[in-house]
Each structure stands twice: as C-alpha cells, then as structure tokens.
C-alpha cells in the first residue's frame, strides 16, 4: 500500500473531491476537448487569453481522480502565466510523471509535484497528462480536440 499512498495523496484526493475552476468560461476565446479513447475519459478546457497571457483557465468533464485532480491543479497553476511558461510547465510535468525529471527540479513544480507518484503506475500517465494535452491544444488553436493517442 506504500506506493498507493504516494499516488493518491491527500492533495490529489482533495482536488478530485472538490475540483477548482470546474466551470465554463463565458465568452472564452480558447476551448479544446480532450479524449482518452482507451478509457472513455473526456474533458473540456476553456481559456481566457489576453495576448499571450492566460487570464483565466477552467475545465469540466468526466474522469478518474488522477485526471480530475490533474486538470484542477493545472488550471490553478497556469492562471496568470504566459503561453511559453505554461508550455514549459507541461514539459516539466511530463518529465515528472514519466520519471525523467531530475529530483532537484521537482520542487519548482510546486503543488504539481504531488503527481510524482504516477511514475510507479505507467498505465495512469495518460490520465495525468490528458488535461495538459488538452490545454496545449487550446493554446495552439482556438477550437480543437486533443487525444492521448
């Protein structure tokens, strides 16, 4: 049960139970849908961009605790960031959940570091990264569908 507790940390369980920014953004100028065809999980990410700045980020959808908490913590993390900063964060996050981020770099991820336990569960990496793929799709193009495949 040791590694299970590192996967389902209190922070993740809390964001699953009460996800932040779980809403639509009226008049959002960016929107993307994410879909994991293997498990049927779907989510929508809305962004309010001002130039390169992410003024607001929100999501809705159905998914497991890992994907819900990841989407919730992601919207918190990217709000107020520039596009390039958000993309860099995704890259750090991707390396975190695939076990390729040097340990001295982990603290810079802040609360997102809670997903370090995903490394032990390769089949769940897609759950954690689906929201980020969807975010990137929203950042790149106004209306798109992202997929983990």
């Amino acid at each position: 049960m040791g590694t299970l507790a590192t996967l389902y940390q209190d922070l993740i369980l809390d964001h699953n139970r009460a996800p932040r920014n779980y809403r639509e953004i009226d008049n959002a100028n960016r929107k993307a849908e994410g879909h994991n065809p293997l498990c049927g999980d779907r989510l929508t990410v809305w962004l309010q961009m001002k130039g390169d700045l992410i003024e607001d980020a929100a999501f809705q959808g159905s998914g497991c605790a890992i994907s819900r908490a990841s989407a919730s913590l992601m919207t918190v993390a990217v709000k107020g960031k520039r596009k390039v900063e958000a993309e860099d964060l995704f890259e750090q996050f991707r390396r975190l959940v695939t076990g390729t981020l040097p340990s001295d770099r982990v603290p810079s991820l802040g609360k997102l570091a809670a997903f370090a336990g995903v490394v032990e569960y390769p089949v769940r990496v897609k759950c954690a990264s689906l929201p980020w793929h969807t975010l990137r799709a929203a950042l790149d193009r106004p209306e798109t569908v992202a997929s983990t495949e």
Binding site: Y8, C39, G40, D41, R42, G63, A65, R124
Partner: protein, 427 residues
C-alpha cells in the same frame, strides 16, 4: 489431468444439468491452474477479470508445450509422419469442438483467430454477398464493439442499414421493441448470448424462433456464454455462433465459427490463400469443400491442441457444475456488493451469469481498479468495448468483476473488503 476430477458423462455434447451433484471442489480445481500460486504486489492473486481472458489449466499449457516439443509439423500437407500425426490431432479437435457445441457435423466448425474474426468472416462473406441497399441488419444495444463494427463496415459496403434493439431500464433486451424491429427488410440478426459488460443472458432461443419464422439467419456472439453455460447450437436454433478459445481456458489466437452447412455452402471465401482451394490457375480458382474453404493459410495448430485440452478439461469438470458454482459466486458477490454504501450494480435484469458490473459513488472505476490491484485483485475498469451500453446507463465506465470456475467465496470477500477501503479513502 492433475487434480483427478471425475469426468461427468456428456450426452450429445451438452451437459444440461445445472445443479452440481456434489459440493463443487474449488480447492481441487485451483491446483490445476499454476498462475493462481502467483503473488501480485506481495499479495495472493485474486483474478476476477475472466471475461477479458481466463487463466489456463496445466493440461492446456502442457498440450501446447507437448506439441511444440515433440509433435510440431504443418497439417494437411506433408507425407511425413509428424505431419500426418499433426493433421489427425488437428482434425480430432474439430470433432471435439463440434461435439462440445452439438454441431451436426465437424465441417460446420471453422477455426478462426477468435470471436471478432469469426463475426468479421460472416459479415464480409455472407453479408457482402447477400445484403442489398435498404436491407436491415438487426443487433442489440448490448453488443460488444466486435458485434457492431463488422456490421457497420458491411452496411457501408452494401447500403444496408444497421438497427439496434434498445435495452430496458435494468439492462435486459427490450423484447417488444426487438420484435417490432424484426420486419420484412431485416436480412440478418446478430446478438450476444451473455453480455460481457453486464452479465445479462439474452433469450436467444426465443429470438432465433422469431427469426426462423421469417427466414432470417441469426448469429450468436457466444464469447462469454460458452465458458459459463452449456451451449448447444441445435437447441439454440442459431445459424452462426462465434466464440474464442482464450476465454474458455484455452490459448489466445484461436476461436470458432459454427455455421449451418447450408449457409456456409452459399458463402464465398473470406480470405484467399493456401489450403482453401481445390485447383488454382492464373485465371481462376475453385474452392475446397468445408471447412477448408474458410481456413486460408496455415491454421493455429498448437492453439488447437490447447483448445482441445481446454474442452476436455471443461467436460471433465462438467459444464453444469461450473455454471452452478459460478452462479453461487455471482449471487454471493451481488449480495455483498449491494450492502456496500454507494455501490450500484449496473445491469440488474434477472437472468445473469458470470459477470458483475458496478460503480461506486464518487469514485471513478479506474481508481477502483488501481487500488484493488495494490491488493492483488485484478478486475476490469472501463467501457468494456461496449460504449452503447455505458451510454444507456449514463456512465462513462464501470468496474467489472467476472468469475471463473476457480474463484472462491473468500476471493469475493476480499473484493468486497477492498471496495469498502476504496469508499473510505474517497469519502
């Protein structure tokens, strides 16, 4: 066979006695399955994903090993000793399968890669030849994707239209709607015998009777029913029936298409190649008689040896005994899970076997799957390749425990205990 199970007599290939004559000796059965000794994450394996694939008894493993170690040769080609022996053994498995499902003749048994391959064979051979624009193919809302997509493909090719009979609130087939959808345009009926997502048994005998009155061929997807229930193609009255070896304790890579001879004779080959021809010139070829017409290329010989051993094993334990024990497990599990707060069983129609699908309030099935895995319990979480069923119940996914003859009530207790832990963790 290890374990020394006393063989029950099998009459006409179907043992319809559903009550075990004596208490089912599950401990003895478990000794026949080496994988059940494995530890997963330091815990004894509790394997409840049998609807995905079943574990293999030692007799099946040994049959495959023996073939490759001592008997390997291609069939129906060589004049040498081993080829003759392999051909005889391969043909004997076909006879065994025919007896197992009570086909009228061994050549009504076509070996395929599995259930999916068998359904595709019928869709692409029978369907493509006989469906016309405006014809209807009737399936149900309970089908596995493998009994939906092959029909979509052939409908696209022929202009036929795919119709699906809806389900009732409890997940059973809506028979009134089904009979209404069966009309003068219906050219084919394909439906599942035992739903992989819900465990619900369809009244296929009644449906084949309705279809026969209208002269409509019926294909039964028996992937889940063959391992759990006695299946007799003549009693069911179907024209085609498909199942997989690996869910019946046999190897992957082999399955069976049963087809009524009169229909198989009308159908063009599915694939061309060696073994399925009579004569070949560059201009044209003529087809070999059944079953070779539908078995192009070198068949799955070692897998057939394994399938033969699996059928022997199931016959020795007794299909009635297996069905009885699994029914006991299903009822016990249904009872325990119904008592867990927030646990909802998906698919509650009365006639069920082998499969228990459920959701837990506030917990996604994938999280259930991961947490149970940490305790060595293997279940399936997801849409079970039956997305229309999930949509019917308004869920994205379910957790599914599916039983086999080697599962125990202690394992069901472990499942229920672990689910209570999951509920606590997410409360």
């Amino acid at each position: 066979m290890r374990g020394g199970i006393v063989a029950e007599p099998v009459v006409g290939g179907a043992d319809l006695n559903l009550t075990a004559r004596q208490p089912f000796d599950v401990d003895r059965v478990r000794q026949d399955f080496p994988i059940l000794q494995e530890q997963i994450h330091g815990q004894p394996l509790v394997y409840l994903d049998n609807a995905a694939t079943a574990q293999k008894p030692q007799a099946v493993i040994e049959a495959v090993l023996r073939f490759y170690s001592r008997e390997n040769a291609n069939v129906h080609r060589g004049v040498h000793y081993l080829s003759g022996q392999a051909s005889n053994a391969f043909d004997a498995v076909r006879v065994k399968v025919a007896q197992f499902i009570n086909a009228r003749a061994p050549h009504e048994v076509i070996f395929t890669r599995g259930t999916t391959d068998a359904i595709n064979l019928v869709a692409q051979s029978y369907g493509k030849r006989f469906f016309r624009a405006g014809d209807e193919v009737l399936i149900t809302g309970m089908e596995h994707h493998s009994n939906i997509v092959p029909w979509q493909l052939v409908c696209e090719q022929t202009g036929a239209v795919l119709r699906a009979a809806p389900l009732t609130e409890t997940g059973g087939l809506d028979l009134e709607q089904f009979s209404r959808l069966l009309n003068d345009r219906t050219r084919f009926v394909a439906l599942v015998h035992l739903s992989n997502a819900l465990g619900i048994i369809n009244p296929v005998r009644e449906i084949t009777r309705w279809a026969r009155e209208r002269n409509i061929p019926v294909l039964i997807d028996a992937a889940q029913s063959v391992p759990h229930l006695p299946v007799d193609v003549q009693d069911l009255g179907c024209d085609f029936l498909a199942f997989s070896g690996h869910k019946l304790y046999g190897p992957t890579g082999i399955g069976v298409l049963y087809g009524r001879e009169a229909l198989l004779d009308l159908m063009p080959p599915y694939q061309g190649g060696g073994g399925m021809i009579e004569t070949v010139t560059i201009e044209r070829s003529t087809w070999a008689p059944l079953p070779a017409k539908f078995e192009a290329g070198t068949p799955m010989i070692a897998q057939a040896m394994g399938l033969g051993a699996a059928i022997d094993y199931v016959n020795a334990v007794g299909r009635g005994s297996i069905a009885g024990w699994e029914q006991e497990l299903l009822q016990y599990a249904t009872h325990l899970l119904s008592d867990i707060a927030g646990c909802r069983i998906i698919g509650t129609a009365p006639d069920k076997a082998g499969v228990l699908s459920f959701v837990l309030d506030g917990v996604h099935p994938h999280d259930i799957g991961t947490i149970l895995d940490a305790e060595g319990i293997a279940i399936r979480a997801g849409h079970h390749c039956a997305q229309p069923v999930m949509r019917h119940f308004g869920v994205a996914a379910t957790a599914r425990a599916s039983f086999a003859l080697y599962n125990t009530k202690a394992e069901v207790d472990a499942l229920a205990g672990a689910l209570k832990n999951v509920s606590r963790m997410f409360a």
